[in-house]
């Protein structure tokens, strides 16, 4: 093999040196910030859960006492995380992260909190791609619509009324955007149904490690 000309060798060496330096710096900063970033992500998830289940209603570690479940009624083929809240060993509430797959622009990811007796503690939208100004009132920052689920249950309103008003139900629909609220109402009702069928197992299943946060970071 002929010797490579010196300029090529020099260029290669300089590039190599910078690559090592750059990668090394990124690796160092990554290492130093990793713990803090993980803690920030945990805190974001915990804040979302606490918005639904007040801190004084439970005494266990929500993030540690979690499982993953799979069920078509939860609107996604991916595993759904379930966080159990307990006080003095008694089941208090469960927070699930199902999806409404039939939003106008795709999947709407939800956080649904249900008290042990089957009443809704609350629903929040975690992520959506609905049209700004039309479908986005499901977002708690855009309107109070999502708070309308607080306190409802499988038989309140009765089965036929778990729909938007256009379909004969009690839930407000947005002007020009029926598909979005319809999808969310349907998903919440299905989650309530799933909870009613699997209530015992949901609370008794032993905690799993490595449960994915439903909040995408």
């Amino acid at each position: 093999m002929n010797r490579l000309p010196k300029p090529v060798l020099t260029a290669a060496a300089i590039l190599g040196l910078f690559s090592v330096f750059g990668t090394g710096l990124v690796a160092l900063v990554h290492d130093k910030t990793e713990a803090r970033i993980l803690e920030n992500q945990r805190q974001t998830l915990l804040n979302s859960l606490r918005a639904l289940i007040p801190v004084d209603r439970y005494d266990n570690d929500l993030l540690a006492d979690a499982i993953e479940v799979n069920d078509p009624d939860l609107g996604t083929r991916k595993p759904v995380s379930v966080y159990r809240a307990r006080k003095a060993g008694q089941s208090v509430a469960a927070v699930l992260s199902p999806s409404a797959p039939d939003g106008y622009n795709g999947e709407i990811r939800l956080l649904v909190a249900i008290w042990a007796d089957g009443r809704l503690a609350g629903v929040r939208v975690l992520a959506h791609k609905e049209t700004p100004g039309l479908g986005d009132p499901i977002d708690e920052n855009k309107s109070d619509w999502i708070f309308g689920f607080n306190g409802l249950s499988l038989d309140n309103p009765p089965e036929g009324f778990w729909k938007v008003t256009r379909d004969g139900g009690v839930f407000d629909q947005f002007t020009g955007a029926t598909i979005t609220p319809r999808a969310v109402v349907k998903a919440v009702r299905k989650t309530l149904g799933y909870f009613a069928l699997n209530r015992a197992a949901l609370f008794s299943e032993p905690a799993q490690s490595g449960v994915d946060s439903p909040i995408e970071e």
């Binding site: 300029p7 020099t10 330096f21 803090r36 700004p132 970071e217």
Partner: protein, 233 residues
């Protein structure tokens, strides 16, 4: 310590060669993120920090990087730089990082950064390069915040909403409600509104520039030398 040169660099960065309004670079983050003052401020400052570091480093290494590999080396420097900034934002400004999302790593693709590295920092001493990075970044931030304020006021009727993302919890009530009971103007929040808003801001800048040019020209006329009609032969 050449103060007049420093002033020229500052004026170029902030106004005359403003990367967003004159060079029209970095428009992707400009248009996507400028829907509120705080989002604009966050991304603008991150871009400024990136510019300062990349300009300074490129200027420091300019003697040691051969011409044929200068662009890959610049890209490497910028990419490492922005990755570090992103990690630090994720660690220390987590909520803002969540909202700005993908646009923080996309700072790497902001043409203004590699543009300044290639056009200025690789050919000038470190103090000039540092200042150029600072003022090009501040100029970009200024354009971002102007557009962000315009879109936030017209689109949502507020200013400085969610200031707590940048300044901490006590900034939660800094929100200025410019119009009470404002219905909102959706177009301003959507991408078309960003384009229209940017166009308006550039138009205003051009009008201001035209006015500034007109005034000295008027003076010139009065000082014109009138040839004497009585020249001897």
């Amino acid at each position: 310590m050449n103060l007049s040169q420093y002033r020229k660099i500052a004026f170029d960065g902030l106004w005359k060669n403003n990367q967003a309004l004159v060079a029209l670079l970095g428009l992707c983050p400009l248009l996507a993120v400028s829907n509120s003052v705080i989002n604009s401020l966050g991304l603008g400052l991150a871009t400024t920090v990136a510019l300062i570091f990349s300009n300074t480093i490129v200027s420091l290494i300019r003697g040691h990087v051969t011409s044929e590999i200068r662009l890959p080396v610049f890209v490497l420097v910028i990419a490492a730089n922005v990755t570090v900034i992103e990690l630090l934002m994720n660690a220390f400004f987590h909520d803002l990082h969540k909202i700005l999302g993908i646009f923080i790593p996309l700072i790497v693709t902001n043409c203004a950064i590699i543009g300044r590295a290639e056009a200025f920092a690789s050919k000038n001493p470190v103090d000039w390069a540092f200042l150029d990075g600072l003022f090009m970044g501040l100029g970009f931030t200024f354009a971002l915040v102007a557009l962000g304020a315009l879109r936030e006021v017209i689109g949502l009727g507020t200013l400085l909403a969610r200031a707590d993302l940048m300044f901490g919890d006590f900034a939660r009530d800094w929100t200025i409600r410019v119009f009470d009971d404002y219905g909102g103007f959706l177009l301003a929040i959507l991408p078309p509104g960003a384009f229209i808003g940017l166009g308006l801001i550039i138009a205003v800048k051009n009008v201001v520039d035209a006015r500034r040019v007109k005034m000295p020209a008027a003076e010139e006329v009065t000082v014109q030398i009138i040839p004497s009609p009585h020249r001897a032969e």
